[in-house]
Structures are given as structure tokens and as C-alpha cells.
Symmetry: C2
């Protein structure tokens, strides 16, 4: 069975796409590192936590939402814990598990970093595209994700919570909102994160 090589359209799309995939992380990392002392991955961890109920997520769930492996997340969380950006606490329901919570320092760091980061994302990704292209891109990325992430663990806030529930699933505190900053703060933190709800 011969290999199905890429035709001209396909090769053209692939070469450009892989160039973006290779170059974009470096751009995101260096802007955040320079302006906020964070890697893009660390930023994303903060953003995901900021949108979670009670600003808390289990390691496994956080790893899935941040598109990373568990060992990688574990190392990153250890370093972030030393900088007081997040805090680990044992999960009461499952003694193998840990919850990770955003600290006030982490929240402040995120709010600080968000405008510059969003500007970078706009400059390099969103603004060069027409509104129609932005919608196309969502569809295209979604199609790829179904192969790259068959469980759909990257964006679970939309569906049934199959696994990785944070501690105390039925938390008494009904306000999903973080204290203090109100909805403005939440949007700021989001920056590059899913629309939560």
C-alpha cells in the first residue's frame, strides 16, 4: 500500500501551518517572560484556575485543560507553589488526588499579565484574520482536536463532568465568582481561556 502523499493544496496548508505551530509558542513565551515573568504554560495554568469553581482544580483535570502531561504539570505546579502563585491541598474524597488552588498572589499576577498577553494574541493570531476566518479557524481547530484529543478533555466546561471533579462537588458557596474583582476581573483573567460558562 503506497503512502498517500500530500497534494499541492495540502502541502501548502501543512507547511504554513507547521511554521505557525513552531513559531507561535516562542512569541507568546518571550512576551510573557519579559513582561510578567511567566511562561505561556504557567499563564495558562493561572487562567484555567481563575475560571474554575472555587479557583480550584484537581491535577488531572488541570493537566487536561492545559493540554499537558501529568509529570509536566507536577513539576510546574511545584515551581509555582514556591513562588506562591498556587497552593496544593490534599483531596478529601480521594486520598490519591490533590487540588490546586489559585492564591491571591497568583490572581494578581494573572490580572497583571493579561492585557499584554491578549494584545500579543490579537496581534499575531486574531487581528490578521477576518471575522469569517476566525469562525473557520474554530471549526478547523475543532476538527483537529477530535483526533488529537478524542476524549475532548481540553474543553470540558461545556459537558458532563465525567472525571476530575474538584473537591466538594456541591460546594455550599453558590457564587462561582471570585471574590473582589467581580466580573471585570474574571474576564481579564480569562484572556486566552475558554468562556467557562
Amino acid at each position: 500500500m503506497g503512502t498517500r502523499w500530500l497534494d499541492d493544496d495540502e502541502r501548502d496548508a501543512w507547511v504554513r501551518f507547521i511554521a505557525v505551530v513552531e513559531r507561535l509558542p516562542g512569541v507568546l513565551d518571550s512576551q510573557l517572560r519579559r513582561d510578567a515573568g511567566l511562561t505561556h504554560y504557567e499563564y495558562f495554568v493561572l487562567a484555567m484556575l481563575s475560571e474554575a469553581p472555587d479557583r480550584t482544580l484537581r491535577m488531572t483535570a488541570l493537566a487536561a485543560r492545559t493540554n499537558a502531561t501529568l509529570p509536566r504539570l507536577s513539576h510546574v505546579v511545584s515551581r509555582m507553589e514556591e513562588r506562591d502563585l498556587v497552593r496544593r491541598s490534599p483531596c478529601l474524597q480521594d486520598r490519591r488526588a490533590f487540588n490546586v488552588t489559585l492564591t491571591d498572589t497568583g490572581w494578581a499576577t494573572l490580572v497583571d499579565a493579561a492585557p499584554g498577553h491578549v494584545a500579543t494574541v490579537r496581534e499575531h493570531v486574531i487581528d490578521p484574520l477576518s471575522p469569517a476566518q476566525v469562525r473557520e479557524l474554530a471549526g478547523i481547530a475543532d476538527a483537529m482536536l477530535r483526533r488529537l484529543d478524542p476524549q475532548g478533555s481540553a474543553t470540558p466546561p461545556a459537558r458532563a463532568p465525567r472525571t476530575g471533579e474538584p473537591d466538594g462537588a456541591g460546594e455550599p458557596d453558590g457564587t462561582g465568582e471570585p471574590d473582589g474583582a467581580g466580573s471585570t476581573g474574571s474576564t481579564a483573567a480569562t484572556g486566552s481561556a475558554p468562556g467557562g460558562r
Copy 2:
């Protein structure tokens, strides 16, 4: 001046897109590492060289085509040289510069690796898309690339050779084709590379 946050369409596109950007390299790397003992970046270096005239490119040109920094390329080439995949030789026209040439071993390694790699690219990137989406993707990636790489150094084979000409620009040997395998081999090597000419 307030930050322009992302609206719903934009955030949706961004979150899915960044998930692909984060996950895809790992998938490409582990397939190639498992089946051919190469990283994706090393594969790409081999592929770019295989399409260059005389299978040779200067460091700077190769770095641009492979979307990498010069220090990174330098380290990678050193390792690949030890494995006899490529060879460095001083550039006669410019004594600061070096040419990198694909060896026969490197060519064979590339030909070996190509089918599996292309299959992976198809599975995760191309085949999930409709033909129309493939064309859309080329346009979208192109628009982003104009910001990420304003000089357009990623795909220069189409335009004027502003910099980084390989040694002996007017090489006597007129056949751009590698020896042996003919056009089939060339296509195989291409795999994930630009259509050269």
C-alpha cells in the same frame, strides 16, 4: 486605553487553536521518535535539505526555513553530524558561514521516516478537514505568518533570494534532483515540506 478582550467567537477560536498548537508537536515527536529515532525538528531539517539545490543550505537559511533560532540549529546540527546525517563545510564565499549538506545516510533516514510521518500528519491535521477547510487553513496560516515572520523567511523558495545563498550559487550540476531515487524519492523526502519548485 482599555484592553480589547476577545469576544465569544474569538475566544472560542483561540482556545481551540492553542490546544492544537500545544498538543500537535508532542504527537509528531513521539511518532517519529518511536518509528525513526528522530525528533520532528530533525526530520524537518532533513526534509528542507533534501529539497535544496545540491542538498545544501547555509546555517542561517536553514534556520529560517525550519522556523528556529540559530543557536538551536547549531546544537541540533552538531548532534546530527555525529550521527552522520548531515555534514558541515565552510563556505568559500563567506568565511564566517557554513554550509550544511545532507549525507546519504541522512537521505536514507529521511526516506525511511517519511511514510509514517505523512500518515501521522494526515491522520491528525489534513484528513479531518474538508478540501475547502484545507484551503482556508492555508490562508489563515499565511495571514498569521505575515505577523510572526514579517520577512517571509519561512518559505523563500518562491521569491527573490535576498540572503543566505548556498555555496556556489551557480553550481555546474544542473539537475536539482538527488541521485538515485528520482522524483518519487524527492516527494517522499518532502513529506511535510514545501513544494520546492
